[in-house]
Every structure is written in structure tokens, then in C-alpha cells.
């Protein structure tokens, strides 16, 4: 349990998807012009991340790693389907995004209207596929830890996009050199925020 909390904290602050790995930068830069939309996209990412990372963990454990298929029949012990993981993960992500979209549309039309356009975009957000690939690479021990990681990395991403959106709303009133306006200054700001986030390095419960 303590290990799960540790992973949770770590994935929000230290291994932050944006500031440490630059994942999901495209939508991070494109959708961070106002706080309201940033919050919407942030929530959608948390939502999808919490579902896809554990699902892909199960898929990885029971289908893709070498010898994972023994639960079907012992003869399959030396089958290694690892090379299929990219295509499996992306298929799972695309279908879950579709599913989440349908569920939200049915049960909360208000949320659906505010997230509407972002939901399909999430399928190609690197942070989501990145989360699943990191899950595979870091070899988490149990299901609980992957849920903690999914939740933490989603929240970390949401935190980053909401923060930059708030800054960009304020910075409209500043005199920025023309060529740096918009994209350029957002990059530099993100760099400065990343330096600030590096002060969390080494935190461990």
C-alpha cells in the first residue's frame, strides 16, 4: 500500500508526464489558451488514463509477456507476443476512448458537451500511450500500483496543463517580443516550470 502511494506521489511530481518526459505536448500547447478548456481536457485525460493503464497491465501480464499464455494451456509457455504490444495498446486505448465517450454521452450530457471535442483527441495523446508503455517498462508488481500510476500520471498532466493555461491567460497583458509571442513563450515558460518541478526530485515516502 505504501509503495502504491509512493508511486502516486512520484508520478504526479517527479515523473510528471509533461515536465520530465514531454508526453502529450501537442495537446498541452494547443488547448492551453484558457483555463476552462484546460480543466476539461485535464479531467478527460485523468479519466482515460486511470482506465487504460490497468487494462493494458492485465493485457500485458496475461497475453503479451513471454510465457504469459500458460493460463490457456501449458503448451503455450514459450510463446512471446511482446512485439504486438504497440498495436494491442493502441487498439485498447482507441476503443476505451470510444467507450468512455459513449458512456459520458449517455450519463452526463453536460460533461459530454464540455469535453466533446477533446475526447476523440485523447486517443492520439502521447501521454496515454506513454503511460501504458512506461507501465510495461517499469514492471509494476501488482494491479494496485498500476491504478496508482495511472491516476498519478493523469493528475500530473492535468496539473501541468491547468497551470500553463492560467499563466497564458495572464501573460496576454504583458509586453512580449513579437516573435516570441504565443508558441515561443509557452515553451520557455514550460521550461521554467519544469525547472521548478525538479525541486521535487528525491521525495520519497
Amino acid at each position: 500500500m505504501q509503495e502504491s502511494i509512493n508511486i502516486f506521489i512520484k508520478s504526479i511530481f517527479i515523473d510528471n508526464m509533461i515536465f520530465a518526459y514531454f508526453l502529450g505536448m501537442c495537446s498541452y500547447l494547443a488547448v492551453s489558451k484558457s483555463v476552462k478548456t484546460a480543466v476539461g481536457l485535464g479531467i478527460a485525460v485523468i479519466f482515460v488514463q486511470v482506465i487504460t493503464v490497468p487494462v493494458n497491465y492485465l493485457l500485458n501480464k496475461y497475453m503479451l509477456t513471454p510465457g504469459a499464455l500458460t493460463w490457456i494451456s501449458p503448451q503455450l509457455a514459450d510463446v512471446d507476443l511482446n512485439f504486438l504490444s504497440f498495436i494491442m495498446f493502441i487498439a485498447v486505448i482507441a476503443s476505451i476512448v470510444q467507450l468512455v465517450e459513449m458512456i459520458i454521452e449517455k450519463f452526463s450530457p453536460a460533461l459530454y458537451n464540455s469535453l466533446g471535442i477533446f475526447l476523440p483527441l485523447i486517443a492520439v495523446n502521447c501521454a496515454i500511450l506513454g503511460g501504458s508503455l512506461f507501465m510495461q517498462e517499469w514492471e509494476f508488481e501488482n494491479f494496485g500500483q498500476t491504478v496508482a500510476f495511472g491516476l498519478g500520471s493523469g493528475i500530473g498532466w492535468a496539473l501541468a496543463i491547468i497551470a500553463i493555461a492560467a499563466i497564458r491567460e495572464k501573460i496576454r497583458y504583458s509586453a512580449i517580443p513579437g516573435p516570441l509571442r504565443g508558441l515561443g513563450i509557452s515553451f520557455i515558460l514550460t521550461g521554467l516550470m519544469a525547472i521548478a518541478f525538479m525541486s521535487f526530485l528525491g521525495i520519497k515516502l
Binding site: 514531454f22 487498439a91 486517443a123 502521447c126 517498462e137 496576454r172 516573435p179 508558441l183 525547472i195
Partner: protein, 218 residues
Amino acid sequence: MSKQQKERESLFSPRYRKLIRNPLSIENPITVQVLGICSALAVTTKLKPAFVMALSVTVVVALANVVISLLRNGIPPRIRIIVQLTVVAALVILVDQVLKAFVYDVSKQLSVFVGLIITNCILMGRLEAFAMANKPWPAFLDGIGNGLGYSWILIALGFFRELFGNGTLWGYRIIPQSFYEAGYSNNGLLILPPAALILVGTIIWIQRSRNRSLIEEY
């Protein structure tokens, strides 16, 4: 779809050359279209992984553009994203296996970022914007052009970060030992993730000061 074009254009007519030239500067995928930034920043601490990554992305963009452009009339619009992702994922698996076989150490350094080529926005962006509406040959050129536009930024970043952060290039020592003895020291910041962001910001700044038409309005 017949392959014979009605009005035959030479393979490198001005319109086609533009497809390669524009993404290098005024339509650069990274600094202007804001596509494919994730991987551009993470793999550029050293020149070698940056170069391998740039090459992989160029190959995948060009081939994916051709495949999607060939299939474009047969893809139902509702499921086109899934079809595109499947094509791209298959190509990326190929690239990944080739990298693992021939440059294993680089493939280890790139870790998840090879897989992330699948969701690299350059791919989806170009497939959606160009390959779905154009013939295979221009789509191929567009892929190559965008791949090269992406490549030069990656290689520039890798060059500066490795030279000033490590004093080496491609793993070979460039800045001689005598410099260090005279008091020179490596800039550790350049190796860290934030420096990549600030460097890209600077490239954008320089590019837009030279080409004022790219300046954004609020």
C-alpha cells in the same frame, strides 16, 4: 483509382519541390505546426539517439503517407482514425524490430519513445491533412519533407545539447581536456529536460524574427 495521372507532371515539378521545401522552414512541423514535440524534446540529450529517432520518424511518416494515400478511397470516414493508427502501429513495430536488431544500445536509450512514434502528432496530422486527400507520390514527398523538417530540429537540439552539455559529439570528445584544466566546465543544465524546452523556444524566436509573417496574434 488509376495510377495514370491525366495531366502528367514531372516528378519534381515546382509544386512537388515545394512539398519538400516548405516543411523545412515556413511550415516546419515542430516550430510552426506544433506537431510531434513530445519525442523531439525527450530524445535529444545526445546526437546519436536524436539522429536515429529522426531517421525512424522520417521513414514512418513517408511510408504511412503512401499507404494511407493508396487506401484513401477505401477508408470509411467514421473509422479512419483507427485505420490510420493500425497502419502506423504496424510500421512502427517494423522500425522497432529493426532498431533492436541493428542498434540495440540506441534502441535501449530511446526506450518508450520508439513506440510513441505511433501517437506522434506529425503522423496523424499529415495523414489527416495531406495523405487522405492526395495521390501517393505527393503524399510520399510530403512525408519526406515533414520528416526532414522534424529531423533538422532534432539534430540541431542534439548537437547543442551534447556539445555543450557533455563536451562530446556522437560519443567522441570534442572539447579537449586542456579546456577543462583551464577552468571550462560543461553546462549541466543542457542535459536536463527543461533546457530542451527553452532551446526550442529560442529556435522559434530566431525563426520568427527572421520571418515576420509567422508571428502570432493574440
